[in-house]
């Protein structure tokens, strides 16, 4: 170890550096030599497969836009950050993106809690945030701002579409097995509300702690109730485990199992047996390319860029989320938050799944919902896991009303 | 006759089915040096643990200066003037010798003062230095207790016990593991200490205490066997049989 600096001098140095630092002006937004988009997603943790797919799809959107010339010669740069699926980390990373990297926009997130925390940080600093994961809360007036956009489906829309398709077909007695957090509760609410039209009856709503690995303690009750339909209102690994164990307990013999969001990757991880006959909703499934031209175009670009791989549901949202923002930059001919937000509000687009637009009062993307069922035989390859049963077209009436969300001015 | 400083009545301690101390009653006069002797397992240490408040007795009473203190918490025993030096060295190993004694002395002055620096209690620092000097540890003032030699740690024990300015000092085999030279110094110190306060000594080396004590108590199998001056004890047949016979 070298001889340490004389303490007095050190203090002087410190004081000098301190003053120099205080002299630095508040952060100055860089003028658009590049358009910077921050992209916080959980690259590690339970949803890292989806997150990595989101990054790939987002990079595709960026490349496409840059290849098309960008905006006034400015190219787009994507700054990917790992939020570790942790809202505190997400907030920190968003602060980093805004304060240090001076991003113009933020797109990303893969859980309700992280998107709300990213939104809180962006909202205070008047930065546009386009969320690409599900939540009903973010639409509500309390969390919303002019700069909050929601590209993904929300639980109300998803649950409603699945309910409208499934309830008339499978019966009136319904049991919910629900992860005990906002996402689960919002899904149940969506099913129950849509179910009213068909006279469905909630036999039980069993709320399990989020992240439960063993559902056996919840299943005898369901077995005894013998409902027509069991709705698994949980997500990801909770869905895989509960579907698998419900199968083990023989629930499927007398009951149809449905779920609001049937994840592509969950089905891959859970295998065909556990998911046999399970039906659910999704924002996107690659095989809808047979019916939707823009889906075909998107899949082809993705396959070409990534060696024949197909995009997953949440992955595709990364593409749409970025492409909307970049299109709005061009339309607004600006990168400042306010003009771009206005351009987004006026945007009508069809990037990958048919026509979409952001509703004026809450900036929720109005879009189609795909109903799929898990395949257990006749699969052509590992990606061939679902049958597309139905596509419910985009319709504003399937959303909760602006009044209900607390938006006073419905424009 | 002066009133006894410590009286115990029918003191009994059971551990499960085993009775470590059985119905022991006795009294100790102020400023006297008494030794409790007895073979291993006689209940000497149990007796000390009870009168120092480490355990509450299964039955019986303990009175200190006429006040019943049976069942009080151990720290209360220390605060009213009963201090103990331990048989197995029991110091604060990662603290300096000086800090060991200073902490022990601090009990009388400040226990929950949060915001004044320790260093500002000059009297405590000096008192700790004096006590270290008295037990012959002045030169090892800043050594960690764990770095002291065994005999030095025993001496530190005594200094810590003295720091609390006890009226009653309980010493559990203070010379255990000491060299003959160290033992001599320690015995001299004990004699000196006993001039100003009551000292009760537990020893199983009988010869050692015969010379310095005025009174001896003999325990055997948890029971009181005999009591008296060294001469009386030496003459006691029963004591000779169970105790001296062994050695």
């Amino acid at each position: 170890m070298t001889r340490p600096i004389d303490p007095k001098r050190r203090r002087l140095l410190a004081a000098g550096a301190g003053t120099a630092l205080l002299g630095v002006p508040a952060f100055v937004r860089s003028q658009a030599a590049t358009v910077k988009i921050g992209f916080p997603v959980p690259l590690t943790g339970a949803f890292s497969a989806e997150a990595q797919d989101q990054v790939r799809a987002a990079e595709l959107a960026v490349k496409e836009w840059n290849d098309a010339g960008g905006w006034n010669g400015a190219k787009c740069e994507l700054l990917v950050r790992d939020d570790k699926l942790n809202p505190g980390e997400a907030a920190t990373r968003t602060l980093e993106l805004i304060e240090k990297d001076k991003v113009n926009f933020v797109v990303g997130s893969l859980s309700a809690a992280t998107q709300l925390s990213i939104n809180a940080v962006c909202r205070d600093r008047k930065i546009i945030f386009n969320s690409i994961s599900q939540s009903d809360t973010i639409n509500e007036a309390k969390d919303w701002s002019l700069y909050t956009f929601h590209e993904a489906l929300n639980p109300h829309m998803t649950a409603g579409a699945v309910a409208r398709y499934a309830f008339p077909k499978f019966g009136k007695k319904v049991v919910y097995l629900t992860a005990d957090y906002a996402y689960g509760h919002e899904m149940v609410r969506g099913f129950q509300r849509a179910g009213r039209a068909f006279g469905t009856e909630t036999v039980a709503d069993i709320r399990h702690p989020i992240g439960t690995a063993d559902y056996s303690a919840f299943l005898p009750r369901i077995q005894q109730a013998k409902p027509d339909v069991l709705v698994l209102c949980n997500f990801g690994r909770d869905l895989v485990n509960s579907a698998k164990q419900a199968t083990d307990f023989g629930i499927k013999q007398s009951t149809k199992i449905i779920t609001p969001v049937l994840l592509f990757t969950s089905r891959l991880a859970g295998g065909p047996d556990a998911f046999e006959g399970v039906m659910g909703g999704t924002s996107y499934y690659w095989a809808m390319e047979d019916k939707i031209a823009s889906a075909k175009a998107f899949n082809d670009k993705f396959r070409k860029a990534y060696g024949g791989a197909v995009p997953s549901d949440y992955g595709a949202l990364g593409y749409a989320g970025i492409r909307s923002v970049l299109q709005a930059v061009k339309n607004a001919n600006a990168v400042e938050s306010q003009p771009v937000a206005i351009a987004l509000r006026q945007l009508k687009y069809d990037w990958y799944k048919g026509p979409q637009f952001y509703r004026k009062c809450d900036h929720q993307s109005v879009q189609s919902i795909i109903i799929v069922e898990s395949k257990s035989k006749g699969m052509k390859d590992k990606n061939d896991v679902f049958n597309v049963l139905h596509i419910e077209p985009a319709d504003e009436k399937n959303l909760r009303t602006c009044d209900e969300l607390g938006h006073k001015v419905s424009t | 006759m002066t009133a006894a400083i410590l009286e115990v009545e029918h003191l009994t301690q059971r551990f499960g089915r085993f009775t470590a101390l059985d119905d022991v009653s006795c009294a100790f006069l102020p400023n006297k040096l008494t030794a409790i002797i007895g073979p291993n397992g006689a209940g000497k240490s149990t007796f000390f643990n009870l009168v120092s408040g480490a355990y509450a007795p299964s039955a019986g009473r303990i009175r200190f200066r006429g006040r019943d203190i049976t069942g009080h918490a151990q720290h209360e025993f220390a605060r009213i003037g009963i201090a103990k030096s331990f048989q197995i060295t029991n110091v604060f190993k990662q603290l300096s010798a000086h800090e060991n004694v200073r902490v022990a002395a601090q009990m009388l002055v400040s226990r929950y003062q949060l915001l004044k620096p320790r260093g500002s209690y000059k009297a405590l620092t000096e008192k700790a230095d004096q006590l270290l000097a008295r037990v012959g540890l002045a030169a090892s003032r800043d050594k960690l207790a764990s770095d002291l030699a065994h005999g030095q740690q025993r001496a530190l024990e005594v200094a810590m016990a003295l720091a609390a300015e006890p009226a009653l000092l309980l010493m559990d085999e203070p010379t255990a593991g000491m060299s003959p030279a160290e033992t001599g110094v320690m015995m001299q110190l004990i004699t000196e200490l006993a001039k100003q306060r009551t000292v009760i000594l537990v020893e199983h080396k009988m010869k050692l205490v015969m010379g310095i004590c005025e009174r001896l108590l003999v325990l055997h199998h948890g029971e009181f066997l005999a009591e008296g001056t060294p001469e009386q004890i030496r003459a006691n047949d029963e004591v000779r049989r169970v105790y001296l016979g062994q050695g």
Binding site: A182 | Q94, V103
Partner: protein
């Protein structure tokens, strides 16, 4: 230099922290380090100085955060009052949890604090109306701090850093005083030898409870600052993994040293931040670093450093630093 730091430990840490944002990649990380450094220092009061390993300290960080957040979001109270409420609530929770937990020892103490911490977690999780449940509490935003008429732009990261630094510095000063006080000597003696401390006349249970409350309040302050920093309170603030992080930071930096926990927090967060940008397998790298530290630098970074410096400087004579190393640095 070590002597100088030891003598003026609060001043030196302040001097360092004044320039700290310059060397960090971005201010939000520097602020996180301040906050978690304080969290670890508060935890170390209990763990390093008193020898009590708690696995429930996230409860105090979280209660501080939530109560501050609730005061601002639901009651629109001024920020300084919200901070006071957060710290007081954490201290009170410390009193309750501490009262129950100090009856046990060792690993059982760790487990009781863990269990009580989990109960706090679920209570806040279920109180969705007040806490936002799993979604977390949003809207704890204080864009402008009004300080006796002086308006500070709290959205400006540098301003935010120095405001938070002021609180952290005050707390560090407080902890430093406590450690140097007679009570500081009492808790050290309890760590060294509980039975002996009782025999010396100290009410061990009461001293433990007091230090538990102090530690909880310091951690609560870290929590309130975190709520203001992030403008959200995530439910993870109460999770036992965060309690575990405090243990890691203390051990990494050097438990039972004054600066150790702060150094540990800084290294932990900085390492995590840097490694995360380099590789997706950051857990393996950080885990590996832990293993290496335990095996080769068991006294932690700061503990090893002061040990080496002390030994190199004053090897021949009895070192005053070594005798007092636990309290001096």
């Amino acid at each position: 230099m070590i002597d100088f730091i030891a003598r003026h430990r609060v001043a030196s840490v302040l001097a360092f922290l004044l320039v700290f944002p310059l060397v960090m990649p971005y201010e939000a990380l520097a602020i996180n380090i301040l906050i978690f450094g304080l969290f670890a220092v508060g935890f170390n009061l209990l763990f390093g100085y008193t020898g009590l390993l708690s696995f429930g300290h996230a409860a105090f960080l979280g209660i501080g955060s939530y109560l501050t957040g609730i005061a601002i979001v639901h009651f629109a109270l001024p920020w300084w009052l919200a901070i006071a409420i957060g710290v007081a609530a954490a201290g009170l929770a410390g009193l309750g949890i501490g009262f129950l937990a100090i009856r046990t020892r060792g690993i059982y103490f760790a487990m009781v604090t863990l269990a009580l911490g989990q109960i706090v977690y679920y209570a806040f999780y279920k109180a969705e109306r007040w806490t936002g449940g799993e979604n977390g509490l949003r809207g704890v935003s204080v864009p402008v701090l009004d300080l006796f008429g002086l308006k500070l732009d709290f959205l400006d990261p540098i301003t935010k850093y120095y405001v938070i630094l002021a609180f952290v510095a005050a707390a560090l000063w407080f902890v430093s005083r406590v450690l140097d006080s007679p009570f500081g000597a009492v808790i050290e003696s309890i760590r060294e030898n509980e039975k002996r401390a009782a025999a010396c006349g100290y009410d061990v249970a009461r001293a433990k409870l007091l230090v538990f409350v102090l530690s909880a309040a310091i951690c609560g302050l870290a929590g309130t600052l975190r709520a203001l920093h992030l403008s959200i309170v995530p439910i993870d603030s109460l999770h036992y993994l965060l309690s575990g992080q405090a243990v890691m930071m203390c051990l990494l930096g050097g438990m039972g040293t004054f600066f150790g926990p702060f150094v540990g927090a800084a290294v932990f967060l900085y390492l995590e931040d840097v490694v995360t940008t380099l590789t997706r397998h950051w857990m393996a790298v950080v885990g590996g670093v832990f293993i290496a530290f335990v095996l080769f630098f068991p006294k932690g970074i700061w503990g090893t450093l002061i040990d080496r410096l002390a030994r190199a400087r004053v090897a021949p004579r009895a070192s005053p630093l070594r005798g007092a190393k636990r309290k001096s640095s």
